[in-house]
Amino acid sequence: MGRFLLKRLGLASITLFLLTIIVFFGAQVLPGNVGRRILGPFADQAAVDNLNHQLGTDQPLLTQYWNWISDFFRGDLGDSLAYHVPVSTLIGNALEHSLKLAAFAFVLVVPLAIFGGVVAALKRDRPTDRVITLTGLSLTVVPEFVTGIMLILIFGLWLGLFPVSADAPDGSSILTQLKYLFLPALTLVILLFGYIARITRAGTIESLDADYTRTAFLKGLPRRMVIRRHVLRNSLLPTIAVVATQTGYLLGGLVVIETLFNYPGMGRLIFTAATQKDFPLLESAVLIVGIVFLVTTLLADVAYSLLNPRIRYAAAE
């Protein structure tokens, strides 16, 4: 186990390193001069150069990269060019919102999807199965803004059941917050259900067909027991991994949904940072999304290996 963890950590940190490089130099391709961005069109060139010098944005890229990355891991993310506030506060706030939404969406979709997937697998190739998989598939592939708009229209404006903007007023109770978050979360549920259910179905079918399941049946175990003890235990493993791979998207990829529901999350933060050429904000935000992704996938791997003795011991022995 220990070695397994170390190995994964090692890989993750390499990936992280590459990620920082990609993010930093990726951001460099955006046009725009930092000093000018800050001082605006009327400041004279001298002042701009001076500021660039103070900010170090006139130094060679490698030096800049080094400064950025070392500051970053020292917890100093610098100031936003556009808002002149510490990037960390902006990201902190956005991340909090994103996490809320993501968590809520997960809580709704994961059990639902797993249930759907398992049922589909048990009823494999029967109508129930086709219905679940095909609806799932069809919903999964429709862009967020299509589903989102429809939901706003129906539940928000026509039926007036739910708020159309996702961000509850400060200090409102958890329940109220959830009420506000419901529509965007629902959009995500619609988006993710098919995907997760599909994986679960595949995993379940695989272990339904496995010899050990046959063994269990031939032991004379009742069907329910076979499913519970022998099938699910192995079939849900892949689901974990998949769910983990969605976190990146959920934390940073919800540009559209956050715009539709005027929700101040990471997606929109990055989006505006990109259009405003707010480099420090952009770089750190993207990097953090990446890191969160790496961490969750790492955790997923660990969880996976914990639930899967083959891996756990293969690594240990």
Partner: protein, 506 residues
Amino acid sequence: GGGGATTEGGTIATGAVKPGGTVRVAIIQPTTAPNPLLVQDEGGAGLLGSTGEFLSFSNSKLVLEPRIAESWSPNADGTEWTFKIRQGVKFHSGATLTANDVVQTLEKLIDPKHGSANAQSALGGVLSPGNTSAPDDATVVFKLDAANGNFPTLVSSANYNAIIIPADLDPADWGKTFEGTGPFKLEKFTTKVGASFVRFDGYWGDKANPDRMELKFYDDEAPMVNGIKGGEVDFVEHFSVSGGKALLDDPNVQVIAIRTATHRQIHMRNDKDPFTDKRVRQAIAYSIDRDALVQGLWEGKADVGNDSPFAPVYPATDTSIEQRKQDIDKAKQLLSDAGKTNFTVELDTWNGFEIPDLAQLVKQYAAQIGVTLNLKITDAGTYYGDGVFGKSRWLDSVMGITDYGHRPVPNVYLTASLSGDPKVGVWNSAHFKNPQYDDLVKQYVAALDLDSQRKVASQIQTLLLDETPIVFPYFYNFLSAAVPKLKNAVSAATGQFDLSKAGFTS
């Protein structure tokens, strides 16, 4: 028009209201930190105005209401203005405002090294650093570079940067406290999310009626509209006809429409082929059906433009000058005279407000006279770039559409975006250079009384109409919306809004 109750003029339905309450306001997302010097956008202006006060407030009739200044007067030739500062005005911190605070605020505004883009555009070439003085705590004297009849407007709320802040406050830190003298004071500000304000009991005038005022920032218009329809906000500070059509047609939303000089400029590089020939520029202008634009894009809530910044709303505007109308044949004629038929030009602009629509319509109109326009529509950041010549599509493109906010006097439009003097014409995207024009503008600016202003204005209008460096298709109304039970909310076309009298009917 729509089914909604639409009030012309700055205030929605007035009447008796319950004391107290919380007014929830939707404003467009500020694009920068709240810094009195650097704010250049409507959202930012709204923030400044929410706690700050100006020497005077330019109301929807473009009349200046005294605020921090009790009164003002020019010397004989209009080169020097003296403002009487109200006494006993308190900052939210409790400190008392003195003339020195006013002096320092304005010095900072005009000092290039602070780079207050917008203030510069208004005061550049008007007031130079060091020429503002406070003989005593109640008086401020401005020595102008040249005579200027509209100076008080240039330092009023019309110049949204010009809120008076304590002399010793670094504008960069203003965002921390929102220090000002207005009827509301800051409770909480969260960048990119919103802000809330409470009544300032130390206010010099009538105390604010609402207990609280909550601002919510929106990146996009649709959620804003949905917000008020979904009952999540009481007051939408500003919406566009295109984005807010739903509100215009909604019987239980009251709409405020203010006639303004807010407009779009379709610039053509006077120094670049094919627009070096003014006949080509005129042809483009003639191809455009302005009435269709006003009806189609603005539901009639706009004034037709006549290719000069003199909007009908300005008292000085000469409305007798013949209105340019669509005339395809004439346009074609002009082109063939110029020997420039069937050419292709790239039309640069950005995807905000109704601009893309305008661009597409212009493209269509141009097509009718055999001119092909390829639209290059990017995000604002890309279009404006660094906002300086050589680093900005806005200022470098051969043809482009640019949005201009409302100004209570046309001065900025006349100078910044048309002056041939590089120090003044910093937004001269048409690269229009015309000594005679520059001279006329000087006269206009100097003119102290309305009649003399009218005379010059008329000449400028005629000149621009002939030269057509820029097409001004329309000047559209500033629209705000409120829920029916909200009364006495005031908004100004420059992005400020005054809710100190506002409240709800039971």
